[in-house]
Symmetry: C2
Subunit: 398 residues, 2 copies
Amino acid sequence: MAKSNSIHGNAVVGQSGGPTCVINQSLVGVIEQFTASARGKLFGMRHGVAGLSKEDLVDLTRVPKTRLAGIAQTPSAALGSSRDKPDVDYCQRLFEVCRKRDIRYFFYIGGNDSADTARIVNEVAASNNYPLHVFHIPKTIDNDLRVNDHTPGYGSAAKWVASAFIGDDMDNRSLPGVKINVVMGRNAGFLTAASVLARVARNSGPHLVYVPEVDFSEAQFVADVQATVDRIGRCVVAVSEGVHRAGECALAGELDKNAPIDAHGNKLLSGGALGDHLVRLVKGAIHAGRVRSDTFGYLQRCFPGVVSKTDAAEARKAAQTAVKLALRGEPSGSVAIIRTGNRPYKVAFERTELANVARKTKHLDLKYVNKAGNNILDSFKDYVAPLAGELPKIELLV
Amino acid sequence: MAKSNSIHGNAVVGQSGGPTCVINQSLVGVIEQFTASARGKLFGMRHGVAGLSKEDLVDLTRVPKTRLAGIAQTPSAALGSSRDKPDVDYCQRLFEVCRKRDIRYFFYIGGNDSADTARIVNEVAASNNYPLHVFHIPKTIDNDLRVNDHTPGYGSAAKWVASAFIGDDMDNRSLPGVKINVVMGRNAGFLTAASVLARVARNSGPHLVYVPEVDFSEAQFVADVQATVDRIGRCVVAVSEGVHRAGECALAGELDKNAPIDAHGNKLLSGGALGDHLVRLVKGAIHAGRVRSDTFGYLQRCFPGVVSKTDAAEARKAAQTAVKLALRGEPSGSVAIIRTGNRPYKVAFERTELANVARKTKHLDLKYVNKAGNNILDSFKDYVAPLAGELPKIELLV
């Protein structure tokens, strides 16, 4: 809606899409900030818009503080999440429930599809002359929301991926060979690129990094591995699940013609097929001793205890900002995280139009990719290090 | 060798087999305890017996304390590991190098194969009337060494697996469906069974647990999943990589007829084939919505920052004990961890014969398996909880 004075009335909050380690920080940020205002009741949608459409709501107005503290530390979406992709009719139904429950504030935590849902709900409310403050709160480990420098959830996933590579590189030093790790990232290579944080010592891996922003050639991949093994006697590889041959869809999907397709038209890329395929390629072409793969899979997004403090704090702050903006009557929008400094690292939380973050996604800037297209430059560390926060320390003996 | 007074002379230490998060605690335990005695020099084998056979040794006599502290915290084998399986001729060669370097103390950190190597080296030395104190120091995330209540490395891996399941169960609550997690464990189900530590809240998973000690039936598996989904609307499964149909080898190996075979005659079970196969089975048979799998793979053994304090302390203490026994002239042997109390948890470190832990392995006691063979009883928590140590806390909202 257009800018107006804030209004009394109830609020609703939901969580959507793949869960993260800090999406509950955002939920708790909404709960604390809204309930402190005493504007009305706060309802939680069970499983996002799916719950709202069925009026499956939880009253969040009086959750004890100590319980909120525990929930904020708990990974995954405490209200339940949803993969529904609402169209205009679906949003019309959501709006009807809001009107029925006297809901005047609508907070939705999620990625670009969630921003689009918020955008449509906002338009339906406006066309009905119903004052509804709709705010989207960013979340995605993929880090692919436009306008945002980065998104809540990414920093913790980056920390997990970096930690995994630090340990796996030590493993590979002790039993040398080729190790291929498949990292989440259908369209954007941000999370795979975060693996370069593991380059903390002499000859540390990953030695090769492949992202979906660059066409993937299996022949080149094998040659790259061979060259690395020739140079240092071993090779640790980071590869995005979304890598694809020139002009083709993701290789992981191509390998399994029967892979299921979700509501968003995306073919399922999880499972071990890509890693197993790359292992066979290497084994068939070169003599590199041990050749193994791991597909990091869903562990990357909800592993408790490996959380970036910066990420957790920003997830909370983004949500608090959304509530503050809504309560003071700002027009509906999304909260974007803008980096305002790197030494020391500083961010600002700014309102942006819902349409700016809805639907389309952002890609990894090619300035971070080396010329050969088989690695991420160390300059990416400057971008990602403050987001991932402190990493485990290692010490080499030999 | 038979009991004798301790002797001056040099020592050698090596690390063998799959690395763990705490095998360097044992290495540092040997270094600190032996160098404090000033009996002679301490050499490290590069990549276990492979390095010793080539005289590829590192002088460990004067590593600074602060560096040792860093190495102890670093996962994986700092000296490098080895998968070599020495026979008597190979051990004869190892003995020759020991004689040449005036090595009188031989410490080898590893599993049952390493204990067997130590046993043969000890016999070769004895038959040459060469006084050599040979001590094996236990290590394996598989937890399958005989005599030992449990082995260093297992507690940290158990903590990692439990943490992964805690997060993954929250993920599965937020986006309900069937989730199948494949856990390391070729012959023994200890690590897979540790997943029951994740049952921390109402209806927490894993809801089904399959270990190699029980024959696996794919038809029964699908029926078990169906029953769980019917009951609570979702299902989280823990399955050992080594599960097998009655009278057959591991299913993971059966699925890939071309899987490579290592020096120990073991077929490679890593890779995503088993998880992908089980997903297809479930999808083909029942309507359970989202069905996904993850294969935890090598991440289970060297993930930094997710380490059990008890495990780290015991790995150090087992090594110190081995050095003390050797220095006071006890006959060659292995150090076994014996549990002497559970409330409070207490252990003793005792010398045992090398032959007692060499070659053969231990299996999970069937008293921990439920009657249907598709779950691990909560009584296993009493066994594993003190080993894994503190776990992440979670809080449910709904």
